[in-house]
């Protein structure tokens, strides 16, 4: 219980500091914060209303608290470009981003873990060295470059898959629209699957050196059972925590992939908002991503405790 409380408190403290940074983001952008938030075409009426809403005539500490109160009530401000609430703009991009991240996680799991296990079982062999080399290569290749050539081969030359865009699965086409996410998810999965592969392999090799594995083998348990029941189960602990970070990181890493494939997700929204100087949207996305990251991080920490009772409060 104290472990749960301690972890939650630590996450809240981190969130508090992060929120200060995110609050100051608008103030660090050159120019009057009012016009940073409203754009150059704001009417005097809009300016006055925002000034009183954000308490801009008050000390900065009061401004921060006012902003925090607004955020806590779900008000992230208004998009300059869309002229609608930032929460609405983010929600519109959420479907694409969440689906893209989820499908990518499936690829990462299906490729990274089994191949990592095979590499570990054949530790030191040519197969192991080859797989590890390929993994390192995949982690070194720029994703957008891979994405562009996947578009060339599978969309332009073969015509098997669409090259860009993504219509919602709730619109015409239904679940078949997921094929729009096939190339993007593979692109995004490549470097991440490589990282999970390396982690699975390293983790398997670490556990295989433990005393209880030697004991299990000495007891005469079948080698396959030792690998899957004893080594893999314990090795996956480290992998599970990496899954959490990976999912959170995908939202940010998708910035480039969504731009290549012109997907209407949060990642592309970040880039377009930067080019449009739509600062409230950028601030909102950073805030949402950090909160998401901290929640996932906390859940990983807490589940770790359940999965591995050896974890003690530090």
């Amino acid at each position: 219980m104290s472990y749960t409380l301690h972890r939650t408190a630590a996450a809240l403290v981190t969130l508090a500091f992060a929120s200060v940074i995110i609050f100051f983001f608008i103030h660090l952008i050159p120019g009057d914060p009012l016009y940073v938030l409203l754009g150059d075409v704001a009417t005097p009426d809009q300016v006055e209303r925002l000034r009183s809403k954000l308490a801009l005539d008050q000390p900065i500490f009061v401004q921060y608290l006012r902003w925090l109160a607004n955020v806590a009530s779900g008000d992230l401000g208004n998009s300059i470009f869309f002229q609608m609430p930032v929460t609405q703009v983010i929600r519109d991009g959420a479907e694409t981003s969440i689906l893209l991240a989820s499908i990518t996680m499936i690829w990462i799991t299906l490729i990274g873990v089994p191949v990592g296990v095979i590499a570990a079982m054949r530790h030191g062999s040519w197969l192991d060295q080859g797989l590890s080399g390929v993994a390192m290569l995949l982690a070194s290749v720029p994703t957008f470059w891979v994405g562009l050539y996947l578009i060339l081969i599978f969309a332009a030359w073969l015509g098997w898959l669409p090259s860009s865009g993504y219509p919602s699965i709730f619109e015409e086409g239904g679940l078949a629209n997921l094929r729009y996410l096939l190339l993007p998810s593979l692109t995004l999965a490549a470097p991440n699957a490589a990282l999970i592969l390396r982690l699975t392999r390293a983790s398997m090799l670490d556990v295989a050196r433990e005393d209880y594995i030697r004991t299990a083998r000495a007891k005469g348990i079948r080698p396959a059972r030792v690998v899957f029941r004893h080594i893999l189960r314990n090795a996956l602990l480290a992998v599970v925590s990496a899954f959490g970070f990976t999912f959170a990181a995908l939202i940010s890493e998708a910035v480039v992939t969504e731009t290549v494939f012109a997907l209407p997700g949060i990642g592309q929204l970040v880039v377009q908002s930067i080019l449009r100087r739509d600062y409230p949207v950028i601030q909102g996305i950073i805030l949402v991503t950090v909160v998401l990251y901290l929640i996932i991080n906390l859940l990983v920490d807490l589940s770790y405790r359940v999965l591995d009772p050896r974890v003690e409060l530090q």
């Binding site: 660090l28 290569l137 290749v141 470059w145 970040v270 950073i286």
Partner: protein, 285 residues
Amino acid sequence: MTGLRWYLAPFTSRPLALVGLMILITICVAAVFAPLLAPYDPSRLAPEARLLPPSGAHWFGTDQFGRDTLSRVIYGTRLALVIGIGVVTFALVTGVPAGVFSALFPRIGRIVMRMIDVLMSFPALLLALGLIVILGRGVSNAIIAIGVVYLTTTCRITYGLALRLRTETYVEAAISLGAGVAWTIRKHILPNLISPLLVQASFVFAFAQLAAASLDFLGLGAPPEIPSWGNMLAESRILITRAPWLLFFPGLSIAITAFSLNLVGDALRDQLDPRFRDMIAGPRR
């Protein structure tokens, strides 16, 4: 202390790592002697020679402005090195002192490490993009933005290493004999940090290449007049179907550079003291 032999040993037994090292040396040579090696001026416009496929006159072809791709790839090594050296320097200069002092003075350390936790709660690319929004586009700003991302991991690793070194018997003995902080750092901490941090630096150098290429690709990195590999990909992106070869060589250059750095870093990491080896982290997410 470790000598030159220590650093070269892994390359004699691992041919792939040796190849990586040689590629890196080639890149450095290309960057220094770019004007001599490049067959054409990298920014020379030649409307009559637009979008030529690879040939004897233009080994890597030409782009939509008739500029020679090979020459631009060769000149691109310069920005790749500037970004890599810049980011590594930034991360080391900020992260190492912060990490060492945090380990030696636990009271300051707790606050500093909490700040690092806060910075790490921002996903890497989003943190860099946010800083670019504040600082503006440009090479030095890209270096600072990516440098801040990697100062976090560098500081954490230094902190972890210094904490361990702090509890070594010989360090405790030195301190109990009256050794000062400055002397302890100079004599015991820093020399032992060199090889682990060199490994970390080679990984940071590799990630910096990919991060900078992403910024360039999004139009938020180096200014367009600089022939960087990322800019070349960004400019020719829409021509992927008309001139597929155009994007091949700049992208390959980024991949080969990052791959070589990872190979070299991996080989050096296996040389490290096993107690320190596990602390060298993967890419900052």
